[in-house]
């Protein structure tokens, strides 16, 4: 049994001034790691992709990559960070290929942004649905997962400055939406 005591990666987390969420329990096997992390990753991916099916597919692919390398991943300082990097990297790849396909008249990504169209009484879901997918991704990776703008930029395939712009816009939208509803 490998010992894992690395917290979720939060490089240069001076912007949020928070401890990384969900430090890993020690002495986890892969299936235990899956049980511990699946819900949070699934949730993060639903928010990022706006699509439940897309999120589940990304989650499975990311966990499979971790599983195939478990001997190596388990002894990493930040196995959870590796999981999220892998998942977001896969998401970025799909976006990239979808952009290429778009120019050929095809749509590779799901049409519906479930978060934007969902009829819900849940205020949090409704508020996040006001954001663009890019803004949501920036908020999830920085505020929820605790990455710095630089690291978030690398994960999302955009510059740190763009991350800051996106989070700033997202905050303005959320603030305005919050004032509307209050």
């Amino acid at each position: 049994m490998r010992v894992m005591n690395g917290p979720l990666r939060a490089v240069g987390n001076h912007e949020t001034k928070r401890e990384p969420v969900h430090p890993l329990p020690v002495e986890l096997s892969f299936d235990e790691f899956f049980e511990v992390e699946r819900g949070r990753l699934f949730g993060a991916l639903i928010i990022v992709t706006g699509n439940r099916a897309e999120a589940e597919e990304l989650l499975q692919d990311a966990f499979l990559k971790v599983w195939e390398r478990w001997e190596r991943v388990a002894v990493m300082d930040e196995p959870v960070g590796f999981l999220y990097r892998t998942a977001l990297n896969l998401h970025r790849k799909r976006i990239r290929r979808a952009a290429v396909a778009l120019r050929k008249g095809m749509d590779l990504l799901p049409d519906a942004d479930e978060l934007a169209v969902v009829e819900t009484r849940d205020e949090a879901v409704r508020l996040l649905g006001r954001l663009t997918p890019r803004e949501r991704a920036a908020i999830v990776v920085t505020a929820y997962l605790g990455y710095s703008s630089e690291e978030a930029g690398r994960l999302l395939g955009i510059s740190a400055q763009t991350v800051r712009v996106l989070t700033s816009r997202a905050r303005a939208t959320l603030r305005a939406a919050g004032e509307e509803s209050s």
Binding site: T16, R18, V21, D31, F34, R38, G39, F42, G43, A44, I46, I47, R52, A53, E56, E57, L59, Q60, F63, L64, W67, E68, R85, T86, N89, R92, K93, R94, I95, R96, R97, V100, A101, L102, R103, K104, G105, M106, D107, L108, P110, T120, D122, E123, A124, V125, L127, L128, V140, A143, Y144, G153, L156, G157, S159, T162, A170, R171, L174, R175
Partner: protein, 431 residues
């Protein structure tokens, strides 16, 4: 003030009713392992055939003397993206890896003219989605200009030059159902527009190349509706340049693509669809990589993929190696080789094989944890450039060079990135 982390946590709590199960992960893993076993068997067969063939033919691999590494003449042109927000940059580099220079920014697909002196590329207007017009630029970066300023459709995306450089073929997009969609040719000044194909329904055509004599066009016809995983598949056709003589080349039960799955779980396979098929030097045959499956089966990603050779009239389509996870098919412009990449079983490697299926051998090794794919031939057929990835990071690949005899394996670039397109020009820009 809104606490964003709390907001996301509350949204997740509301959205996540049923978390993905471990059983689901197991089923996905089993599918992947089944593919890997198939591919491993295929590789063993290929290697054994290569060894037996070499023995039978008395083939002896002759190692190149140290210090006399062969380097084809010319220039390699490649597009690179290190940061999605910055877009793609196009560079040129000598085959030895020296004299790299920035050529242009803003596009990732291009076609080198037959004389090697200029690039045909889509001039994309970032403010108008999917808007692009054909443009050219000299290989030294000078004289960029649009070939057409207006087209009678929403966009005209240039694909390939004719062999004599007098015309080019591009794919046009138009409002759904409009007959304006399809392949068009135009002369090298962008005038004399001629519609060659008109795909049915939501289909979309993408030209791969003119035949060597310039009389036909090899192209992919994408099947409009995507499957539940949203992956695109296509059939392979040839058509005369006057629009007559449409011939489907991939036999029933096969389909080209999808391109974003990779082979046998290969973690990265941004294989350009235009590398999936190519003409023989005499234009009498075509080689292509195709899934041996229906479109829906192919989209599921659980199928074998074969390397085929077919006559240009659509007859005698046959596999030349055992089916496996084959990603691309590139016929050497000179010589008697077809290059392809195949998962081995997890990470893909570069192979060459004679068109009759003999002499198969690997030119790269994934044993060090690096996958290789996307072989592109030098104009003289003596060497290849390809993509290699040595890490889990999708955008951490590099371009490499290798001679067709396996010697001279060299890393050409030293910036981890996505190298989406690359071609070899016979034109030499550096002094």
């Amino acid at each position: 003030m809104i606490d964003e982390r709390d907001l996301v946590e509350r949204a997740i709590e509301a959205l996540v009713k049923d978390e993905p199960s471990f059983d689901g992960l197991l089923r996905r893993r089993e599918r992947k392992q089944r593919n890997q076993r198939v591919a491993a068997g295929v590789v063993a067969v290929v290697v054994a055939a290569a060894v037996a063939g070499a023995a039978a033919l008395g083939y002896v691999r002759s190692p190149k003397p140290v210090g006399s590494v062969h380097r084809p003449q010319g220039t390699i042109v490649f597009s690179r993206q290190t940061d999605a927000s910055q877009g793609d940059f196009v560079f040129t580099v000598e085959p030895g890896g020296s004299a790299r220079r920035l050529l242009k920014k803003g596009f990732d697909m291009f076609s080198v003219s037959p004389d090697g002196s200029q690039l045909l590329f889509p001039n994309v207007n970032e403010n108008r989605t999917n808007w692009a017009l054909p443009a050219v630029v000299s290989l030294d970066g000078s004289h960029p200009h649009l070939l057409r300023r207006h087209v009678p459709m929403t966009t005209l995306w240039p694909d390939a030059w004719s062999p004599d450089g007098t015309r080019f073929v591009g794919n046009a997009r138009a409002p759904l159902g409009s007959s304006a969609a399809g392949l068009y040719t135009a002369n090298s000044h962008g005038t004399d527009l001629f519609q060659v194909t008109s795909p049915p329904g939501r289909g979309n055509d993408l030209a791969i190349a003119y035949s060597p004599d310039g009389s036909k066009i090899l192209f992919l016809r994408f099947i409009g509706a995507q499957g539940d995983q949203g992956h695109a598949v296509a059939d392979l056709f040839t058509v005369n340049v006057d629009g007559t003589g449409l011939v489907r080349l991939n036999p029933p039960g096969t389909i080209l693509g999808p391109w974003d799955l990779g082979g046998a779980g290969a973690p990265f396979a941004p294989v350009l669809d235009r590398r999936t098929a190519s003409w023989s030097p005499d234009g009498r045959r075509v080689t292509f990589a195709a899934a041996i499956a229906t479109p829906s089966e192919a989209e599921s990603g659980t199928v074998e993929r074969g390397l085929f050779v077919v006559n240009a009239d659509g007859r005698n389509a046959h596999r030349i190696v055992a089916p496996g996870q084959i990603l691309d098919a590139q016929w050497a412009p000179v010589g008697d080789w077809i290059a392809f990449s195949q998962a081995d079983p997890d990470l893909p490697d570069i192979f060459v094989v004679h068109p009759d299926g003999t002499g198969a051998r690997s030119l790269s090794s994934s044993s060090a944890g690096a996958g290789s794919w996307g072989p592109v031939w030098a104009p003289d057929g003596s060497a290849l450039v390809f993509t290699r990835n040595g890490s889990d990071y999708q955008f951490a690949s590099e371009l490499w060079f290798v001679n067709v005899d396996g010697s001279g394996l060299t890393q050409l670039t030293h910036t981890p990135a996505e190298y989406f397109s690359y071609e070899w020009s016979s034109f030499r820009t550096a002094s």
